[in-house]
């Protein structure tokens, strides 16, 4: 029996360098159609980057609005879409604040991140997590991770109140900057005196 859990992501804003490796890995793993990007890297505030995909929300709007009941929320928290049931109405695409469901023009159906369930079955983490060179993106179980230093949202991330996404963040700290001080010339030193 699959235990009830809350699979999600932990994202460290400070560590993301905007290399788009997660995007490429996702595309490569899931062979999504041209124009369909399940994971996207966007620019946030103060030179930060956000890597956003489906957040497998606690109250998924896509699940709620779908007239065909094509969405499933599994016991481990993963939200999946049964593309065979999808009628291509785009209601979920508009409802999701993170633009996670993506309309596939070729198949005339909506698809979305499936948390790499095939890899999960083999005990492997999602492709985007493995590809991240700086360790900014980590897969976690929110139910059992006592991370008190994390926050539910960061500036630039869409509103979390409606869907309660399964993602936590390490917030951005103030940037450390170092400057070389110019040595004062002899004449200035004299004037100072």
């Amino acid at each position: 029996m699959t235990k009830i859990s809350t699979k999600g992501f932990l994202f460290n804003v400070e560590r993301c360098i905007g290399c788009h490796a997660c995007e490429v890995a996702c595309k490569n793993e899931n062979k999504t159609a041209p124009g369909v990007q399940w994971r996207r890297v966007t620019e946030g505030e103060n030179g930060t980057y956000h890597s956003i995909s489906c957040n497998h929300c606690s109250s998924p709007e896509c699940f709620r609005v779908c007239p065909e009941n094509a969405y499933i929320k599994r016991r481990d928290g993963i939200v999946l879409i049964d593309s065979n049931r999808c009628a291509g109405c785009n209601t979920c695409v508009q409802a999701c604040p993170y633009h996670a469901p993506q309309f596939d023009l070729h198949q005339n159906r909506t698809t979305k991140c499936n948390y790499c369930i095939d890899r999960q079955r083999e005990g492997l983490p999602p492709a985007c997590v493995v590809a991240c060179p700086s360790g900014a993106l980590v897969n976690i179980d929110l139910k059992h991770l006592p991370l008190e230093s994390t926050v539910p949202t960061v500036p630039g991330f869409p509103d979390i109140r409606i869907t309660k996404p399964s993602i936590r963040f390490f917030p951005q700290k103030g940037k450390k900057r170092y400057w070389l001080k110019e040595e004062k010339s002899e004449s200035t030193k004299n004037t100072d005196l």
């Binding site: 029996m1 699959t2 235990k3 009830i4 809350t6 606690s58 109250s59 699940f63 709620r64 609005v65 009941n69 499933i72 929320k73 599994r74 016991r75 508009q94 409802a95 929110l142 006592p146 991370l147 008190e148 994390t150 539910p152 509103d159 409606i162 309660k164």
Partner: protein, 406 residues
Amino acid sequence: MFTQESLDLQNQLLNTLLLGGGFKELIKKASTVLGHDIFFTNPTQRIMVSSNTDNAFVEGTVITVTPLSPPVPGRVQIHVEDESIEALVLELSNSNKRLGFLFLANPGEDKENRLKILFHQVRSLFVLELQKQVEIEANNRQYGDAFLYDLLYGNMEEDGDIIARGKIWGWDLSLPHVVCVFELMDYESYSQDHYLIKHLLETAELVLTPLNKHYMLMDKHEEVILILPIKERRRRDKKAYLEMLINQILDKADDFLASREVRVGIGHKYDKPSELFRSYQEAKVAVKLGGLIKNKGSSIHFGELGVERILYSHDKQELQEFYLEVLSELESHDKQKNELMETLEKYLINNFDLKSTANALFLHPNSLRYRLKRIEEILDFDLEDFDVRVSLVIAFKIKHILDYKE
């Protein structure tokens, strides 16, 4: 000192357990040997089993514990309504979890600490039995919760299967059910809030158990979800019954929730268990929209959400366009003072009644008339026209929904 007596007591209690006696037998035996009433509570101080059934300290009662004055170690004063007694108290806990408290009523003087020593012997056996019970319950709950999770997310489609599986836990899912969601506002998962949710769950159990209904309860992050069988056919009866239960739960929860807000959403009644997930989604929408609808109390029925329900699910872009078409001119005209927008909204809230709007705005009716005339000029609308009034009401509702969504 009291070594033999202590060993005898332990043997007698062990024998009781070996003969298959549960808590009731154990507590009865301990009470007979020690000559005092004994009862134990869960961590939230609800009496679980008591040796006495005559006084106020019976099963299911929630007690209040205060220290003695002056304080005495191991002794407390316990209160239920008007009744109050002194008691010896011991914490029932293993190395990492508090399981409850054990009380011995009216210990008297207790020379040479005889009662205290014997009471400690009783405690260890209670901890053992309680630990076993907790493990069984946790196991049961894990399977039950997994079933409820699938039920609430529509992961099971065959009604027959659902009804058969529900019977394992004694739930009759062939009856019509309704889902109520209690949501703790501003929940933070890495704070102490999950204790509040557990407490709320126990409070709901406390209220519902005496009714002997085959209700289903589970907690999920910031929510306590109640699935209740409902026989009332008339809408009014159903509403009154649910309100009564919810108010009782919230009243009891008020003590520990302090200033925290709990909002309750109630979905529609569904006859088929495979459709119950709709009721859950409706209840969640009712909770979300509850923040927008004022003066409706803390519990919101999905069926009473009105036009907000349609607007909430409607395309955001289209809503924005409608709002701008109706009110943008007034809004841009009113940028500095926000006087006319407020006046118009108050006029709508007060059912287009001049007198009550003027009172609400602390204005003279003539000043209000002047403002309304200006609004009519700016918007080029006749405020007496019914269609115009409907459009304005909807436009303001859209404004609140868009503000909330953003």
